[in-house]
């Protein structure tokens, strides 16, 4: 119980752990947290080690940096190297490896790559440098996609002709479905993503209990949120219920954010299929710009290599993203692949399971072992 003492409300944390232990009983439960933010919290606070051995957490594909396939990074680098281009990106994407280098290296070799906090910062650069074409590398789930949509609506309203978006936005429901369909992975339920759900609400998850018979509880990002959501999942199972519940009512509403859904529908449409790192091609799992925004679509403005690149053989990100193996079970974890020299995407983003475990989880695991507790 050492770690529980570090929680904001140790008494509440202890009570939740007791409740989880009681509800789990002698059975073994495996729950997947879909969101990278949850993975980070779980490792940062050693949640795996306060849980009873009967409850196992499996890390899912909800880190948008981690699921970008190498071929898309190659496309990005190709656009960044085109004459007259200012290529803008979130800082998280700079070190994601493509087949021959990353955006940071492209910048070092002369490409004008700039990292921005917001797509609106990229828009401002376009306004201020009318003689250059500014491309924004759009990445993220439904949390960030509305921001790109509003930025595109703004660009069109202002009549900007030197701004476009290389769109890699993905949607959360198809990979959950892909995981539920994947053979050999037995899950007892899901911790639903918090921030994504502020946009899409709770309804899109209903198929999880209805079609697949698994409960889903949307959770917040504090350790107590995670523990409470796990207790809610176990309570559903114990009571013979199976539904979508919301632990994160402080931010998530049943209907989501209607305004955000409206701008998403206006600007984007579903791609027929999109490649996910580790999960392969998933139908209707990503967004592209509608034809009405073709002038702002970097895929239409630039010749992209569009080549599918296989992951390095040594890298097991795919198995980590599907929850088949834990980060430390990967052959190159912590040796050839570290946050400073990542081979796989899960080690690049701080919300990737491997980076989160490398930075925090190892220590908790070592302490847990030294305290004589079973390390998962």
């Amino acid at each position: 119980m050492r770690f529980v003492d570090e929680y904001r409300d140790p008494v509440a944390a202890r009570a939740l752990v007791d409740r989880i232990t009681e509800l789990a009983g002698d059975r073994h439960f495996k729950f997947m947290e879909v969101c990278g933010g949850h993975t980070h919290t779980i490792y940062r606070h050693g949640i795996e080690h306060v849980l009873p051995p009967s409850v196992e957490l499996v890390h899912g594909p909800g880190c948008p940096v981690c699921v970008i396939p190498m071929g898309r990074i190659d496309d990005a680098i190709s656009v960044a190297r085109a004459p007259g281009v200012v290529f803008t990106t979130f800082g998280d994407m700079m070190r994601v490896p493509g087949s021959s280098g990353n955006l940071l290296e492209a910048k070092a070799s002369g490409a004008d790559v700039r990292f921005v906090y917001s797509p609106l910062d990229a828009l401002r650069i376009a306004r201020e440098t009318p003689d250059r074409h500014v491309v924004f590398f759009a990445v993220g789930f439904e949390t960030t996609a509305p921001s790109t949509a509003i930025t595109l609506l703004r660009a069109r309203a202002e009549g900007l002709t030197n701004f476009s978006v290389l769109c890699n936005h993905v949607t959360i429901v198809p990979p959950i479905k892909a995981i539920l369909e994947s053979p050999g992975l037995r899950l007892d339920g899901f911790l639903g993503p918090g921030h994504v759900s502020t946009v899409i609400g709770q309804r899109p998850y209903r198929f999880v209990p209805q079609v697949y018979g698994k409960p889903l509880v949307t959770a917040g990002f504090e350790p107590l949120d995670i523990l409470q959501a796990i207790a809610m999942l176990l309570a559903q199972i114990a009571e013979g219920r199976c539904c979508v519940e919301n632990q994160y009512t402080r931010c998530v509403r049943e209907e989501g954010n209607p305004k955000a859904l409206e701008v998403l529908a206006e600007v984007f449409e579903l791609r027929p299929h999109f490649e996910w790192r580790g999960l392969g091609f998933i139908s209707q799992s990503a967004l592209r710009l509608r034809d009405a925004f073709a002038d702002f679509d970097a895929e239409k403005r630039f010749e992209l290599p569009g080549v599918r690149v296989a992951d390095p053989k040594a890298c097991q990100c795919g198995e980590v993203l599907k929850g088949v193996i834990k980060p430390w079970e990967c052959k190159v974890f912590g040796t050839a692949c570290t946050p400073e020299t990542p081979i796989g995407t899960c080690m690049v983003s701080s919300e990737g399971a491997c980076a989160a475990y490398y930075n925090f989880g190892r220590l908790h695991r070592e302490v847990a072992v030294s305290l004589g507790r079973a390390a998962s």
Partner: protein, 90 residues
Amino acid sequence: MCLGIPAELVEIVDPDRHLAKANVAGVRRTVNIGLLVDEGVGPGDWVLIHVGFAMSKIDEDEARRAMEGLQLMGRAYTDEVAAIAASRIG
């Protein structure tokens, strides 16, 4: 990129473009509140900011708790704060 950072709205600076000044992680920056227009947010309200956009309205207590959690995140949080400090949305 995925972090939700609590911010206190200070002033609406451009109602047509839904831009507001906000106190975010110790700096005052412009953010877009267009996704919350239907909720009628204004000065004094707390919101969670994602990549320069207010995504959800929260109360002050939630803002404080979220900030405590973020500060424990280490580099992921400090990188985000550095990016916010460099932001020049306008």
